[in-house]
Amino acid sequence: MKIKTKIIHSGIDKDPYTGASSIPIYQVSTYAQEDPIKLGKYDYGRSDNLTRHAVEEAVANLEGGIKGFAFGSGMAAISSVFLLFKPGDSIVVTEDVYGGTYRVLNTIFKSWGLKSIFVDMSEPEKIIKAIEPDTKAIFVETPTNPVLKIIDLSAVSEIAKKFNLISIIDNTFMTPYLQRPIEFGFDIVIHSATKFLGGHSDLIAGIVVVKNEELAVKIKRIQNSFGAILGPMDSFLLHRGLKTLAVRLEAQQKTAFELAKWFVNERGVKRVFYPLLDDHKGKEIHIRQADGGGAVLSVEFETFDIAYKFMKSVKIPLLGVSLGGVESILSYPSTMSHASMPEGERLKRGISNSLVRLSVGLEDVDDLKEDFSSALYIALSKS
């Protein structure tokens, strides 16, 4: 089955009870049992919920994993995966990882005894150098957030195998429609489902997909014991949003690429970050491992002043945190996605104060260009 069909008919896509063409929302906490000893498959909503299972199975199928787990947020998903490790373990992490991941590693998991080693993974040799005797996993984001560096999935997964490490990837920016890391040998795929999977900026959710049964049992135990599950209504909305993933992403990345090329030639722009641009260092690797450039690009302006005035003057995109929705969203990483990173760390990762991130939505590309053009004009005119 092709991925576009899989997106529509993945896992539990019909209700065997009534034939309903969408999964019912099981807004329920407990299940009546027929027998006090032999409990049914369903006994409590934290452990099992059919609406949640439907979306878990759908994403697992798309990623090519054996099991999916839905959490209350992307961070709940990521944190639940980190609970696989024990005090004294260490993990090698992509240097310019999402600020929320950086924060949870550097505060909660650090004080609890899990060591994180941050590495620029665009050069795989650096990963090998960073591995310590207690290292148990490699955690990857590609493209990275917000400067869209590309990491070679095959290379990382080979290193992981060689050193017997669990390979984990946050696949939020690409989604399984564009990039399926399990095909490259990854063990665990994580999503902030709030972004492209949900796609409508109307829910907060996270997903974990695992490659093998052993990990499935472990993650299930963590999900059930800690209980950071996704509720039924949000599970339903996520499943609903998933159905348009292909059409949304295709349209969004087409516009994103066009805007990226357009920004390159604009005055006041110092640099544009988008994986398919010719001057992008990781372009070749990205094309090899993904089916498109995605819908996120970052623009570095010549000065903070231009960036600031630009953000103040745009009218169509909304200014705010998050990405992946049907509306274009303009973010300022310094105060938003990467605010939890100290300024020194930010600058080291290329996140300057004149860098702006754009998540491209479904608006008309000409409207967006016109809006950006007039915002730039205002930003560049002497006040």
Binding site: K14, D15, P16, Y17, T18, G19, A20, S21, S22, P24, I25, Y26, Q27, V28, S29, T30, Y31, A32, Q33, E34, G40, K41, Y42, D48, L50, T51, P232, M233, F236
Partner: protein, 378 residues
């Protein structure tokens, strides 16, 4: 099985697949057929939806009717009900009814259905208006906002003797307190946005009909016009129903305390609450209802203090609607009954000094203190 048991387990035993004790929300448009010519009982959600069906069934059972139908609002329920009449038909309706119903009736007048607005709190008036074209009596009791009570027993007899349909808008009391079918009513109408759901978070309407023949007619119109209640809202009403008995009891009790207190406030000229022993409606309502409801209207000494009262209340929310867990205060003259002509409002007693309370689940002393502060500023 008692009403409380039925309420608290509404929809709890429907799903045999998982045993889920809460009714699943079938947020769905269409249903797969097992094979050609066969149906699971559900084909298309306008025609029937499992979540809505569970709500409709429990309401039919609790009200004591053959079938119930859920609509997207109280007004769309009444609209669907009016479709069973033909141009030339005549209805006798309560004169001080909800402003939205009044507006709708006036629309139907243009289509050739005739309405006589009558003070149905004295049944003799109804007899006077019956003619050969009269097909139905539509009453609200207690009325909105003056809480006049109609004698259901007497009016039920009149309807039967004259072969008229008796339709009762039971929104203010609900079947928990008052069951119009026991008195010969044929159709019971609800705005489910009020006590049935009870949380000020749903807009919905219900029709319950007593016999199958009438049910078929109403279903035909519900399905043809399609102003159905959606699955999620159906589920919320179902969820709200589970506490109906608790809410009604507490809200009635709070209302009585507040009504008694209002009677003695120097800025309050008149209190309308049928549960006050000196109310002319006390005895009749006691006969036909298990309780007096949680709606109170009262007149203050002058219209000039109304704006200050409405801006000063803090616990009471100044908002339209009623029947929720939060207490609301409304100014019928400009809000719920603004669709009525000045003349009619004046004749009915809906003047610019009248305020209406929907008493919620808050602590009654807090509510009284809030009103006291507001009245003293006003």
């Amino acid at each position: 099985m008692k009403i409380e048991t039925l309420l608290s387990q509404a929809g709890s035993k429907w799903d045999n697949r998982t045993g889920a004790v809460s009714m699943p929300i079938y947020q769905v448009a269409t249903f797969r057929h097992p094979e050609l010519g066969k149906s699971t009982g559900f084909d298309y959600s306008r025609s029937g939806n499992p979540t809505r069906a569970v709500l409709e069934n429990i309401l039919a059972k609790l009200e004591g009717g053959a079938k119930a139908f859920a609509f997207s609002s109280g007004m769309s329920a009444i609209d669907c009900l009016l479709r069973i009449f033909m141009p030339g038909d005549h209805l006798i309706v309560t004169e001080d009814l909800y402003g939205g119903s009044y507006r709708l009736f006036e629309e139907y007048k243009k289509l050739g259905i005739d309405f006589s607005y009558v003070d149905t709190s004295s049944w003799e008036n109804i007899l006077f208006y019956i003619n050969e074209r009269t097909k139905a009596i539509f009453i609200e009791t207690p009325t909105n906002p003056l809480l006049k009570v109609a004698d259901l027993y007497k009016i039920g007899k009149i309807a039967k003797e004259n072969k008229l349909l008796l339709i009762v808008d039971n929104t203010f009391l609900t079947f928990y307190l008052q069951k119009p079918f026991l008195f010969g009513a044929d159709i019971v109408v609800y705005s489910a946005s009020k006590y049935l759901s009870g949380h000020n978070d749903v807009i919905g309407g219900i029709l319950v009909v007593k016999d199958e023949t009438l049910a078929e007619k109403v279903y035909f119109y519900q399905n043809s016009i399609g102003s159905i209640l959606g699955p999620f809202d159906s589920w919320l009403v179902l969820r709200g129903l589970k506490t109906l008995h608790l809410r009604m009891e507490r809200q009635c009790r709070n209302a009585l305390k507040i009504a008694k207190w209002l009677e003695h406030h120097h800025k309050v000229k008149k209190v309308y609450y049928p549960g006050l022993k000196n109310s002319i409606w006390y005895n009749i309502l006691k006969k036909q209802s298990k309780g007096f409801g949680a709606m109170i209207s009262f007149e203050v000494e002058s219209a000039s203090i109304v704006p200050a009262i409405l801006s000063k209340v803090e616990t009471f929310l100044f908002a339209e609607s009623l029947g929720g867990v939060e207490s609301l205060i409304t100014y019928p003259y400009l809000q719920t009954h603004s669709a009525m002509s000045e003349d009619l409002r004046r004749r009915l007693g809906i003047n610019d000094r009248l305020l209406r309370l929907s008493v919620g689940l808050e602590n009654y002393e807090d509510l009284i203190n809030d009103l006291d502060n507001a009245l003293n500023v006003g």
